[in-house]
Amino acid sequence: VCFIPGGLDCSISFVSHVLGKVCIHGRQKEILGVLVPRLMDLTNSDCIWQRICWRLVECVPDRWMEAVVLGFVQGAPRADVLSRLLGNLVVKNKKAQFVVTQKMLLLQYGHATAVLQSLLGYLSLDSVRRTLLLRVLQELLETWSSNSAVKHSPPEQQLYISKAILICLSHLKKPEIESCRQELLTSMMVGVKCHLDSSLPQLRRLGMVVAESISLKINTEGPVLKFEYEEDNETRELKSLLVQTPPFCVVPSLPDDDRSEKADAALPLVPESNEKPHTAAAVMPDEELGAELDSDDDLIPYDMSEDKELKIKAPVYIRDCIEVLTGSGSEDLDKWEATIKALESLVRKNPAAVREVSVELAKILLHLEEKTCIEGFVELRQRAQVAVLTTDPIPVAKYLTSQFYSLNYSLRQRMDILDVLVLAAQELSCPKFHGKTKPSGAQKPCIQLLPGSDSSKDWRRIVDERIKSKTRRFVTGQSHVELASCPNEFNSVAGHFFFPLIQHFDRPLTTFDLLGEDHLVLGRLVHTLAILMYLAVNTVAVTAMGKALLEFVWALRFHTDSYVRQGLLSCISSLLLSVPAERILADMTEELLETQSWLGDVVEKDSDGDCRRLALQNLLLMENLKKKLEVLPS
């Protein structure tokens, strides 16, 4: 596209029309890919060309304005380029304003960070446009702090909005921050609460990072808000957005590498100032020059062979352990520590003795609090609890499940009960051979076991593995270690673990309301039920469990928390994998058909990506099931 220079008054509206028509037909990239770099060069120093460019975009008819503006924003490499190309279009044209301030920020969320940077930078570069910047920030904050947005919008959109907020903050100058300080503070307080309420760790982290950044901006002196969370690439990227290097003039022949320079946040290097003042710390050589006479020889040492490290003995009997743990013997903390460390192995070595006092021991362990600072206290306690539960499953499971629904336990304790039940179930259902016990992920055993996140072929692999591990081979082709099979100990107790947990979920207590505020525990409960269902394969109770689980899922299927919904979908997966196909067909056909239509809905309409994926998995599993049944003769 060539322009004829030289003092002619030409009308550009024809060109604008062409541009607009091309863009609306979806050819933005092609035409702007050529146009934008050329315009960039031309407008770099020449004001007339800038005016021409502005006229060009202003003349695009309204019905095509959106496509053109979108194309320009995406095509321009930097904020100042965009500023040169569009001028004050956003102020003059209503449609452009809508696209830039509303549509691209709040309604769409697929644009790259660089596009966000150039868009918001563009708004900040001119004083007329800065008012728009403030307005944009306010609207972004409103969305960020709205409870329903946090609950219902997809995590990708929330990430996008957080990035936009951080970039806006980085552009604001001090007087502007002062003027909207109050609003920033209120939105931050409301928003951080909604974010921390969420069950998804990613959203919690997003909320924390944004809140910290806002607090940093508004409190330049004095204490700043600081959260504790694990840093990962996402948080680091977000934090780097807060620091803006000012746009500098670029040699026209190198348009692209400054974008990456801006993205590298210019974090000030903290000088390594923590070296202690080096006082003379040289070690003198061991042999002194001028050897001393060894006049210590006349002192004869005594026998010191008994000198070993002092070890406090742990009690050897279970009842002694109980005494130490419950006693008011707060004096002998060494003994208490030694007992805690030795408890799990003692329990496993003395099953008969443990069975006599199992419920009492379970009670003590559930309420045990850390008296001294032992490393790994939480894990030691959990392993002892699992040992007690596997030694005497039925009474202890009864106790634990009843306590799950009792008054006056903390959320942490209730979730501990769920973890212990899962670990014990896993242990009971695994055939016992050496060297094959799965490592216990102490924090979240649930996530390790969920098969739903694998591809749909994996269920076959899992089933095959299980079959292989449970059959006994008469003739071993190669030299395998012959795997001994043994009865599945989980069989007799699966129902005791499962049914009491599912019983009272809809009965709120004063301090514990699963269907209300405590949706985090509900999420964990649902995931626990999924695992128990999965482990109950080949047990007698599996069909009854399956039916109960299906009803449970049906009741909760519209829950607003996405973590809960993910759990419900894993329940369906476990069900489809564990309950034998014939039983599903015989007893649960109608429910399954209803579930299938619900799953179809979830695949299309659910806002959470993981939920959609799990629902798709389940539909595939159902298809496989149908095919399998068709193969078998009826």
Binding site: A280, V283, L299, I300, P301, E309, L310
Partner: protein
């Protein structure tokens, strides 16, 4: 074939509380009874008669708060005691009296034992940890005037002073203070100028106790970790690490070198007393009598070397008295 470790010569019972500090006073001429002063957790100072092995007197001057330091000031008639009631009491015990003649309110809430040094007839210098976190105050007794306050420089982050030792090379020279701090370093201070001469990081954990041999210009410090650190002082008044010795168990409450500088004793958290030769730190004996942490060890000041004793006080409320290497 090495002999098994000896048994205590005798054991003093009757404090009915953990023993935190011990001090002998046996140097007097013959008709004087050798005495052992002990401070306990229940606030009492017991005066033990080492001939009858019984308590002669029990002094109650610290409001039932634990006494963690006792020292005599020139003879057994004047006693100084430091307790957790933030006070240092000076006692007059002559002719059967048991009265507190004077007291210093230190406002120190830690466990740092004070250190006494006689600088002239009737005049002592005392180093105490002061009220402010990192400072050590030097007072002159009996006038109780402050000589100086030793403040580490800003940002040094030494923590609390844990143990102190005042000494001077000989009678006329300048008094110097060795202080062990919470961050594991030992600092040498010049008392008259109030300046630090040298600092050495000896341990990773707080220095629990130290002792110094001014003749050899070498000292030893124990900490809550498993290492004993021996350091020396060179002519430029700089501290340098000389040697370290690894122990079997962690934790040393007290270290003391015998007045003849031949052996030293350590009191351990693992209930044991260890004896080492001072020249080369050769392990000599492990005395395993107590059933609780040993809080303090002390050598006696008998003029007759054959009568020398070692006493150890423990959390199990007993004081064991040993006679070791008395022939050398």
């Amino acid at each position: 074939m090495a002999l098994p470790p000896p048994d205590p010569q005798f054991v003093l019972r009757g404090t009915s509380a953990a023993v935190h500090t011990l001090h002998f006073s046996c140097g007097g001429p013959e008709p004087d009874t050798p005495l052992l002063f002990s401070g306990s957790e229940n606030g009492f100072i017991h005066v033990w008669n080492l001939k009858t092995h019984r308590v002669d007197k029990a002094l109650d001057g610290h409001g039932r708060k634990s006494v963690y330091c006792v020292e005599t000031m020139g003879g057994k008639d004047r006693l100084l005691s430091q307790g957790r009631d933030q006070r240092i009491c000076l006692w007059d015990l002559a002719e059967g009296r048991t009265s507190v003649t004077d007291s210093v309110f230190t406002e120190h809430v830690g466990f740092c034992r004070c250190s006494l040094l006689k600088v002239a007839q009737g005049r002592w210098l005392m180093a105490v940890a002061a009220r402010s976190l990192e400072e050590v105050q030097i007072l002159e007794l009996p006038s109780k005037t402050s000589v100086c306050t030793l403040k580490p420089e800003v940002g040094a982050k030494l923590g609390m002073p844990m143990c102190l030792k005042l000494w001077q090379l000989n009678c006329g020279s300048q008094p110097v203070l060795l202080a062990g701090y919470e961050d594991g370093s030992v600092v040498l201070w010049n008392v008259s100028m109030g300046k630090a001469l040298s600092q050495l990081v000896c341990h990773q954990e707080p220095v629990m106790s130290l002792d110094f041999d001014s003749e050899k210009a070498r000292g030893i410090s124990g900490s809550s970790e498993k290492v004993l650190s021996i350091w020396s002082l060179n002519e430029q008044q700089n501290l340098q690490v000389y040697k370290t010795h690894k122990l079997v168990s962690a934790g040393i409450s007290d270290i003391t070198i015998r007045p003849d500088k031949k052996i030293l004793a350590t009191a351990g958290w693992d209930h044991r007393i260890r004896i080492f030769g001072w020249k080369k730190l050769k392990p000599l004996a492990v005395l395993d009598y107590h059933t609780g942490t040993v809080h303090c060890v002390s050598f006696s000041d008998h003029s007759n070397p054959r009568e020398r004793l070692l006493a150890a006080g423990s959390k199990d409320q007993r004081i064991s008295v040993w006679s070791l290497y008395a022939q050398t």
